[in-house]
């Protein structure tokens, strides 16, 4: 058994926190508490990224996921007035059959994870080698340009759909606004 360096220790601590927080996300009954644990889990993952030599990815993880997307989740939960005990709304677990699908997927993932941890070739590649923002940018706008463009199309589609839903129904609204004043005039 070799001694862990302080950095390794920090990595495992962060990873452990991420796992515990993720477990709390799915075991909690209160949706806001679950979301908070999800934030903690994302922060822990960001620390892992940072320790593995990807500070840019770590920063974006916090800004985009923890700082923006989950705020919107919290916002939605507040809008719908959820947050207390939600077990009332969730269907009762009827039988063991609903566990089969997720379990298969989880087992495949677990096998992959074990393989990755076990393979020494990958271990060598994972030794810290700091990736700067510049490298990330060069990769995104070089070999992965197509992926970036597809993602931006997807976002644009979402934006247009959002605009469409949020737009007041032009004519109806116009009429509704003016009807009362017409009635008064008559």
């Amino acid at each position: 058994m070799m001694m862990l360096s302080p950095l390794q220790l920090m990595f495992y601590l962060a990873a452990l926190l991420a796992i515990i927080a993720s477990l709390k996300v799915i075991s909690g009954k209160n949706s806001v508490h679950s979301l908070l644990y999800l934030v903690v889990s994302l922060l822990a993952v960001a620390v892992c990224f940072y320790l593995m030599g990807a500070p840019f990815a770590a920063g974006l993880e916090v800004i985009v996921y923890a700082g923006a997307i989950l705020v919107l989740f919290v916002f939605a939960i507040m809008m719908f007035g959820l947050g207390q005990d939600e077990t009332l709304y969730t269907p009762k677990i009827a039988s063991l059959s609903i566990w089969i699908g997720p379990s298969c997927i989880a087992i495949i993932l677990l096998a992959q994870l074990v393989f990755v941890i076990d393979s020494s070739e990958l271990q060598e590649k994972l030794t810290v080698n700091i990736i700067s923002a510049k490298q990330v940018g060069a990769l995104l706008y070089g070999p992965y340009l197509l992926a970036v463009e597809i993602a931006s199309f997807l976002l644009l589609a979402g934006l247009i759909a959002g605009y469409h839903f949020a737009k007041p129904d032009g004519q109806d609204d116009h009429l509704r606004l003016h009807q009362p004043s017409n009635e008064k005039g008559e």
Partner: protein, 325 residues
């Protein structure tokens, strides 16, 4: 080992100075508003009222720290702490002078943006955990406002990153030796300042706590020390946004040639920050509060396109070598 101890000492000194400064700002604000409105302001406690904040602190410590029985206890207690901690963490990456500064993080600017976006949770969760209508409305306003203004706050500082080629705040300051970035990034600065005011929930962007319509918004149910923590967070974030403006656009501790030998760099930095803080206070006394939909449409319809345009023009200039030859 001794390095770590020195670093810890530095962190403790920075925090030990920042918190009293933030507390003093309450008095500075009331006194300055008084002077601008042609009255005296608080001038009773100590010489020219300088101990007013100490008196306020004693008063607030003596108050009952009540947790409403209808609230979500855990989140209710956590919310003000998250706010103050996030703002204090941001100070870690700010270079105060050539030798002072807790961390020269390579992604300093991103770290600041990350902490600013995490600080939203404080307000949103306070609003939700209070379980009261005013607080909830305040929290929802805060969420919508902060998420919108965060978007172009990030974009507005990208011009700076483009010109200096780094996220490291110390390197950004050093890159301004030939000239402050305000010369070329004036639009970026204005957008950053507006977004910064919105982030710190100051007037005219204090809709989450608009007294006239929401009593006290997200902190309606808070009292005693927890209320004080919200207050502290607000004044700390005023100081933070001022410091960031100075670092990003006004050359940090740097001063032009004849002036820089008059005072030590740290003093120049503090003076610049103080000017910004006074500007924040002046804004509060002079501007009315917009309606909430006006606030949001202003952000998305004017500020966001402007920030994108600024980025585009800066990139074009950088590419053609227009700025620094």
């Amino acid at each position: 080992m001794i390095d770590i101890l020195f670093k810890l000492l530095e962190i403790i000194i920075v925090i030990a100075l920042l918190i009293p400064i933030a507390a003093m700002l309450v008095w500075v604000e009331r006194r300055m508003i008084g002077i601008w409105q042609d009255r005296l302001g608080p001038n009773r406690v100590g010489p020219i009222g300088i101990l007013q904040s100490v008196a306020d602190l004693l008063k607030i410590l003596g108050k009952e720290d009540w947790i409403p029985p209808f609230s979500d206890r855990l989140v209710f207690v956590l919310a003000p702490v998250i706010g103050a901690v996030c703002v204090l963490m941001s100070f870690a990456v700010i270079p105060f002078s050539p030798s002072i500064g807790v961390s020269d993080l390579n992604i300093g600017l991103l770290f600041f943006l990350a902490m600013a976006s995490l600080a939203v949770y404080s307000v949103v969760l306070a609003g939700w955990a209070s379980n009261s209508k005013y607080a909830l409305l305040g929290g929802m306003r805060a969420a919508a406002q902060t998420v919108s203004y965060e978007v172009f706050m990030g974009i507005s500082v990208m011009g700076v990153v483009l010109l200096t080629g780094t996220f490291n705040l110390r390197e950004i300051v050093l890159a301004q030796e030939s000239g402050w970035l305000i010369q070329t990034q004036f639009v970026g600065f204005i957008i950053f300042l507006i977004a910064g005011i919105a982030e710190s929930h100051r007037l005219p962007f204090d809709l989450p706590e608009a007294e006239t319509e929401l009593t006290a918004g997200f902190h309606t149910e808070y009292s005693g020390l927890k209320f004080a923590l919200f207050f502290l967070g607000e004044y700390l974030s005023v100081t933070l946004i001022s410091s960031m403006s100075v670092v990003l656009f006004f050359g940090g501790w740097l001063m032009p040639e004849p002036l820089d030998s008059w005072l030590p760099p740290l003093v120049w930095f503090i003076l610049k920050v103080f000017v910004f803080v006074l500007f924040f206070i002046l804004l509060r006394t002079s501007l009315p509060r917009p309606r909430f939909d006006q606030l949001l449409s202003f952000g998305w319809k004017y500020m966001l396109p402007l920030a994108l345009l600024n980025l585009l023009v800066t990139a074009a200039f950088k590419l053609t070598g227009g700025f620094y030859g």
